[in-house]
């Protein structure tokens, strides 16, 4: 193997650097997230997690609990715990523009803060889950999850996009 490339070692070094630069450029551009439909992400979550044990929320509930108007965004998935004292939630929002995610992040952080205040005096388990919530922005997507196993949902989300 070495003999094949050593005869033109200068050229080989150039090729190696060029290959590296191309690879890094591709990785960087892909890190902006693929343009994946929300239904695909939802199907992946249903197949690989137990998201269906939670309640799927609609546009009104998105406004009621998170304070977001669905009309301002491309699409979303919102599930929350069916239990009255449960704080488990998963929200994935696909914005029309990346800059729109700042407002989503603010709304999610406000939601975490409100929930923490609600459960602070009598729900240490809930507060613990809220403090370990995942909030991740990638490309035009924001992922928010409160769960005992947020990493599992995050892994599916990251693979999907």
């Amino acid at each position: 193997m070495y003999k094949i490339v050593s005869n033109n070692s200068a050229m080989t070094k150039i090729v190696l650097v060029v290959v590296l630069v191309i690879f890094l450029a591709v990785v960087y551009s892909r890190a902006n997230a693929d343009n994946v439909s929300m239904s695909k992400i939802e199907n992946d979550l249903k197949a690989k997690t137990n998201i269906e044990t939670m309640q799927k929320c609609n546009d009104r509930q998105l406004k009621q609990f998170i304070g977001l108007d669905y009309l301002n965004y491309d699409s979303y998935i919102y599930y929350k715990s069916k239990e009255s004292l449960g704080v488990d939630e998963i929200l994935i929002v696909k914005a029309k523009h990346r800059s729109d995610l700042d407002a989503v992040q603010d709304a999610v952080e406000e939601r975490i803060s409100q929930q923490t205040s609600t459960f602070e005096s009598y729900g240490p388990t809930q507060v613990s889950l809220l403090k370990n919530a995942f909030v991740i922005k990638k490309g035009r997507y924001l992922f928010y999850c409160v769960s005992k196993t947020p990493e599992k949902y995050e892994e599916v989300f990251q693979h999907a996009i």
């Binding site: 193997m1 070495y2 490339v5 050593s6 070692s9 080989t12 070094k13 190696l16 650097v17 290959v19 590296l20 690879f23 890094l24 990785v27 960087y28 892909r30 890190a31 902006n32 923490t116 602070e120 005096s121 240490p124 507060v127 613990s128 403090k131 370990n132 005992k148 196993t149 990493e151 599992k152 990251q158």
Partner: protein
């Protein structure tokens, strides 16, 4: 893929072991191919894109080492090629690991708002980059002959037992084993025991200690107390030891099963009496790497005092930075640099004369404070936590939460503390020698309990995974 996962224990490992040992020993090349393919599959399981980076790194460093050797044969020094290789390897590491940190720092200092895309860190990049660099430096310094087989070099770099979390294996320590290694029933047996021992440390101890630490740092201010926060940092101190040393045990055990002997990475660091001793016992492969390839080339301690101090600060700041792209990691490394300097030049001689128990308390206090920096998301959080530990703020000394945590976790904490010392291992080996059935039963119980925990418990990733 983690060692402590069902898919690894019951699918990947049995299949690889079967394929490896079914292949006749005389076909070592075939066995190496099987291990290489398994290693690339292992790596790509979590991040398929970055396996190409691993392959690139293997080919690039393989090629450049031979270029260095060729240059030397023709009367040159190989220095330019070595520097080129160093720059490219560090560029790749910095691109993935430190780019975001650099941009955040620039924005913070200049008050700008340069946007960038945060990249996912390729798993184990810090480990395999340092392995590659150790090889390049050793070839450059004629400490080892370059490897002409791309297969063997790729296997060295990507071998799955130590790929994603160490130990950092120097090429010269395994060069002969890549050519010829001895597998035996005894090695397989001791390797399996070591693996199961590490699995138990990770799953049964580290994960539960981690849950305790997570619960404590998530407590609202109304439930925080001084003692509670001490329990939290003690839990983290034990968690990170069992987590990382457990993974190293699994890596060493797996290696031995395939006939490889890797260096020890931990030597009961929490029995240390000084910080100097601690760093001879903790993450040994990393500290020896920095000593051999940075500290000694800088002059080590064979330079004037002021230069020696500078060398130590450079090495320890970079040690901190290697652990994470954040100022709290740099602070953590610098913290140890300062303490090592103080031990060397200020109070080390007095420390030696102190009673043994006082030395142990000193060392453990310093180490635990250090872990606060390591475990915190940022500097301000770390400083706040340390403040509570020493009574800053209007927090009570203890409260009902403290009693609840002690009542429910005292056994775990005491057991973990005892198991972090060498005595239980010595006793186990003594009983095992005289009553082998005892040893078999203990190992079997650890394995069964670990598997039960893996099936039952939630996902809890390895702390050193993202280095």
């Amino acid at each position: 893929m983690l060692f402590s996962s069902i898919i690894f224990l019951f699918y990947f490992l049995p299949i690889v072991l079967a394929a490896y040992f079914i292949t006749p020993k005389k076909y070592m090349t075939a066995r190496n191919i099987i291990l290489l393919a398994a290693s690339l599959l292992f790596y790509s399981w979590g991040e398929p894109v970055y396996v190409f980076l691993m392959i690139y790194s293997a080919f690039f460093n393989y090629f450049m080492a031979l270029e260095i050797a060729k240059d030397k044969r023709h009367g040159g020094t190989g220095r330019n090629s070595m520097l080129f290789t160093l720059v490219v390897n560090l560029f790749i590491l910095c691109f993935f690991k430190y780019f975001g940190f650099l941009m955040d720092t620039i924005n913070s200092i200049l008050g700008t708002d340069f946007h960038y895309t945060a990249l996912a860190l390729p798993i184990g990049i810090s480990f395999y980059t340092f392995q590659a660099l150790s090889y390049i430096f050793d070839v450059y310094r004629d400490r080892v002959k370059p490897q002409y087989s791309l297969l063997k070099f790729s296997l060295y770099l990507s071998l799955f037992p130590q790929l994603i979390a160490g130990p950092i294996v120097k090429y010269r320590d395994v060069a002969e084993q890549l050519e010829e290694r001895t597998e035996s029933l005894e090695k397989f047996g001791t390797g399996s025991i070591r693996f199961i021992y590490g699995l138990g440390k990770k799953v049964l101890l580290a994960n539960n200690l981690g849950a305790l630490h997570t619960a404590i740092i998530a407590l609202p201010d109304s439930q925080v107390s001084v003692v509670t926060y001490w329990i939290g940092i003690i839990a983290y101190t034990l968690q990170i030891y069992f987590d990382f040393s457990g993974y190293s045990d699994m890596a060493i055990g797996l290696g031995r099963m395939f006939g490889f002997e890797f260096m020890e990475n931990f030597n009961y660091p929490y029995i240390s009496k000084t910080i100097t001793e601690f760093w001879r016992r903790w993450h040994i492969s990393l500290s020896t790497w920095f000593r051999e390839y940075l500290y000694i080339p800088l002059g080590g301690n064979r330079v004037p005092v002021h230069r020696h101090i500078l060398n130590l600060m450079i090495v320890w700041s970079l040690t901190g930075l290697w652990h994470g792209a954040s100022w709290n990691f740099v602070m953590w490394g610098t913290y140890y640099g300062v303490l090592l300097i103080l031990e060397k030049y200020i109070y080390g001689q007095y420390l030696e004369k102190a009673p043994s128990w006082a030395q142990h308390i000193y060392a453990m206090l310093i180490v635990m404070i250090g872990w606060v920096f390591f475990s915190s998301t940022d500097l301000s959080t770390a400083i706040s936590y340390i403040g509570v530990l020493f009574g800053v703020g209007a927090f009570p000394f203890a409260n009902m939460t403290t009693l609840y945590l002690l009542r429910t976790n005292l056994v775990l904490l005491v057991l973990s503390g005892v198991l972090s010392t060498p005595e239980p291992r010595k006793q186990f080996q003594f009983f095992n020698k005289n009553q082998p059935v005892f040893g078999i039963v203990i190992i079997f119980v650890i394995f069964i309990l670990s598997v039960a925990y893996l099936i039952y418990s939630s996902y809890n990733p390895f702390l050193y995974f993202r280095f």
